[in-house]
Amino acid sequence: MAVGVRLAMVALVVAGLCAGLVASSGAPPAQDPPTNDVCLTCHGDPGATSAAGRSVAVDETRFGGSVHGSMAMACVDCHTDLAATEDFPHAERLARVSCSTCHSDAVAAYDLSSHALARRQDTASVAATCVDCHTAHEIRPAADPESTTYALNLPTTCSRCHGSADVIAAGRIAIGNVGAAYADSIHGRAISRSGLVVAATCTSCHGAHDIRPGSDPGSRVHRANIPSVCGACHEGIERVYETGAHGVGVTSGIAQAAVCADCHTAHDIQRAEAPAWQLDVIAECGTCHTDQIRTYRDTFHGQVTSLGYTRVATCASCHGSHAIFASDDPRSMISSTRLLTTCQQCHTEATEGFTGYDPHADKHNRERNPELYWASRAMTWLLVGTFGFFGLHTLLWLPRSALARREKRRARAAAPETTADPEA
C-alpha cells in the first residue's frame, strides 16, 4: 500500500512539475525530457568523472533497487534542470537537487537541525545533508536491511562523520568521537555484536531529521526531555524514576536534577552490572553531591571503591538508583524504618545499633559528628607533636652524630697501636 501511495504521490508531483513547466515556458516542450537511458549513456560508465575528477557514475542496478528506482522515477525528476536540456553532455554544474519537492516534512524538520544550522552559519560546512545519510542514487527505505538508515547500519552511517577525527575537527564538534563511544556502549554492542534491531541507535534518541542541539528546549535530547526519550524503550525504569527525587526534580523544572544521561552518560552507556561502570558512577553522583562524595571517600566503603573494587557499598547500594528518596521519606532505603534492612544487604548480622554508624561522617563538622571532630583534632595534635618533637630531635642529632663519627675515626687513625694492643 505504501508503495502505491508513494507512486501516486510521485505521479502527482511529476504531473505538477510538467504543468509548471508548461505554464512557465508558455509553450509545450520542444521534445520529451531525456530518459534514464540517455543519462546512463555517460553516467552508466563506472569510470565516469567530472572535470574536477569526482566520480559521477551511477550504478544502474543499484539505482533500480533503490526506492526511487523501484518507482521508475526518472533522473530528471530530481535533476529538474536537465529536463529541458537537449544538448549533451550537459553543463558541468547542475542546480542543487531539492528533496523538499516531495519530502517537504522531512526537509522542514531538517531545517531545524544542528546540521542545517551549521550549514547556515558556515557555507563551507560539511554538516550532513540528505544525501550524506541517505546516499544520492541508492536510497532505500529505512526498513530495508540494505539501507544506510537501517537500524543495524545507521551507527556506521552517522559514524562516517561522527567517528571521523577530520570531520570532528573541521566541524568543531564539541562532544567528540561519539561514534567510537557508542560502538563501545551497551546499545552499540547490541547492534554490532548481537544484531539486535530493537536496540537504540542514533536516531532513537536524537530523531532522524530534526537532530537539534541539547541546549534547544525543543530537542529530544534536551535535559528535560531525556527521561521520556529513554523511557520510550525503558518504560518501566522511567515510571520508577519519575517517583524519585531526581525525576520529581525534572518534572518540577529543576534544571540540575539528574537525568538518565548524567549517570549513564549519553553515548558510552555500559551494563549496570559492569564493575567499571559501578565505580565510575560514584564519581558521577559526586559531581553534584560534593560533600557526600568527600565524606564517602573518608570511609572504608569509599576507600575500597576508590582502589577499584566493588565488593563494598557504592552510592546505589544504600540509596537505590532510579527511585532515590530523601531520608525522611518512608520509601527511602535509608529511612529510619528501612535503614537496618539496607545495611543487612551486606552486613547480614547487623543489629539496630549498627545503624548508628554514620557512613558520611565529616571530621570537620562539629555539630554533626562531635566525637569524630574531637578525635580528629586530638590525632592531628598527636601527630604534629610527635613528629615535631622527634623531628627536631633528629635534626639536631644528625650533625652532632656526624661530628662524633669523624672524631672517633680521627682518634683511631692517630693512635692505631692502643686499639690494636689493649695490654700496652
Binding site: 573518608d298 576507600q303 573494587y309 545499633g353 554508624y357 633528629t394 662524633a404
Partner: protein, 276 residues
Amino acid sequence: MSNSGSDAVFIRRFDAFDRVLHGVLMFSFLGLAATGLPLIFSEETWARALARVFGGFVVAGWLHRVCAILLIGLFTVHLTRIGRRIIVGRRFDLLWGPHSMVPQPRDVRDLVQHVRWFLGRGPRPRFDRFTYWEKFDYWAVFWGMAIIGGSGLLLWFPEFFARFLPGWVFNVALLVHGEEALLAVGFIFTLHFFNGHLRPEKFPMDTVIFTGHVTTEELEEDRPAEYERLRATGQLEALRVPPAPPWLERLGRTVGTIAIVIGLSLVGLILYAVLT
C-alpha cells in the same frame, strides 16, 4: 659496626627469644603497613597498583588480618614472658632501675643532657642499658597496640561490637586506625630507622637486634653506665658470647636492608601523596 676486630670481645645484649620476636614484629608491621596504606591513599595511582600487587583488596585485607593476628600474638607472648619473669622469676628489677623499660627521672635528665650535647653545650650523657628514645619506641608499640589493634578489631567485627557500642565509636575507630597507623609508620620508618640504624655513628645499620651481641668497645662507648656497672659487678665475663656465625650476620644485614628499603619506599609514597 659490631665487628671492629678479630680479637673483639662480644657481650650479649638481646637473647634469641627477643630477636625472634623483633623479627616477627618487623614482618607483621611491614605487612600491615604495606596492605593498609593503599586504603588511606586510595585515590593515588600507586595505592591501586600496590593493592593489585597483593592480589586485590580482598586478599590484601586477609593478609592485613593475618599480620594483625601475628602482631597481637607476639604482643601476648611478650607480655606473658615479662609477667612470668617478674612474678615467677621475682625479677622486680624489671619494674625499676637500669634493666627496666619504665621511664624514670634519669631518662628526663638524659634527654636534656643529650640535647645539650647536640648543641655542643656539654658532654654526651652516660647512657645505661636502655636509652630514653629506646623506651619511647618500646612504649609506642603498647600505645599502638591499644589504639590501632583495638580499633582494628572494632572494624573487623563491627556487627558484633555494635551490639553494645554506639555507632559513632566506629566512625572514630576508622579515623584513629588510619591516623595512628600513619603515626606508627612515619615514626618507625623515619625516626626509629634514624635513631637505631641510619645515624652516622651506626650507618647503615646496627645489627645488634639480629646478632644479639655488641663488642665491649661499642658498649663502653654507647652505654658507659652499663659497661661500668657490668665491669664493677664482674658480670661482663658472664655475658661474654662467641661472635655470631657469619650466616647470622649476613641474614641480619639482608633482612635489615630489605626492611629499611621497604620502609623508606613506603615513606616516599606517603610523602608523594601528601605533597602532591
